[in-house]
Symmetry: C2
Subunit: 198 residues, 2 copies
Amino acid sequence: MLPVSLQKLIDELAKLPGIGPKTAQRLAMHLLKSPHSRIRPLGEALLSLQDGLSFCEKCWNVTDSDICKICDDPSRDETQICVVEDVLDVLAIEKTGKYKGLYHVLHGVLSPIDGISADQLKIQELFDRVKKNPEIQELVVATNPSLEGDATALYISKYLNGGDVKVTRIARGLPIGADLEYTDLATLGKALLNRTGY
Amino acid sequence: MLPVSLQKLIDELAKLPGIGPKTAQRLAMHLLKSPHSRIRPLGEALLSLQDGLSFCEKCWNVTDSDICKICDDPSRDETQICVVEDVLDVLAIEKTGKYKGLYHVLHGVLSPIDGISADQLKIQELFDRVKKNPEIQELVVATNPSLEGDATALYISKYLNGGDVKVTRIARGLPIGADLEYTDLATLGKALLNRTGY
């Protein structure tokens, strides 16, 4: 019923994660009514997205050169490596301004149920990096506080156990603004166990 | 912190309605990891979206020729015109399969609070169409059952009052699967007033 070009756009939009057929229709109608000067940048950004983008040889963050901006920054603390699941996690941690070390992006977590094992992640690359760079003193494992994230953190800490590198895990506890009464037992338990002094 | 091309895509995606900065990030990362063969169709669909698309000269539905497919279909009942707010409403009504007449897309509703008056809609075009086409016997006003939709329907019916064209309004009542107990009073009142016989 709709013109071919409009239907094609709706179909393509509906393939994106979290965008169902109704949202795709609404987005397409919005774009149809937008001036061409507002649609073109989006189309061009899509077409040129992967041109020249690759993953950093050192930390597997996304980059437009061989080495990403963080690894290339001489002011960063080379003794700390923050291990994260995803590129967006690097962004989130950078925004806090509380971390000045380097990163290592795993590109996923161990998840036997989804068939994801260590060789599909950048875990071996992490171990090689630790071996080759004796200046590394601490791995801050910042995978998500989920079953898979915890298992991945445990895997890394077991592997490096006995070596010179200290493996730490980001703190679990109550998020700022949380309500004790409505916090789940596992989080509340962790918050009690990991209480800090003044 | 992110490469320019990736940041540009995130910025462009975040301009879409209902897509915030976090969703834009997630979509961009998804696209970055997708094979180029899956991104290209979306980019191309965007760039070519408005090429050759226009609004039907008769009903203002979106079309890739002068007259849309519905107006061009000789099997449609030319005596009925369904008046809708938006192109997507045409699609929704078509999917029901319960309507065989033609359409008229207003491209909005009267809304003094948003500064939208009759001359910004295709209302005059509707009146001209009714005047020029004496075969039209009924206008089924299917604007949304909102304050603005109702006001627009009332405006149309007042204007055509006394003419040969019957103006009807789609039924208000309980949606299928609704629960009487949780239905708002206005809807329940309408459902009682507009009860139908067997």
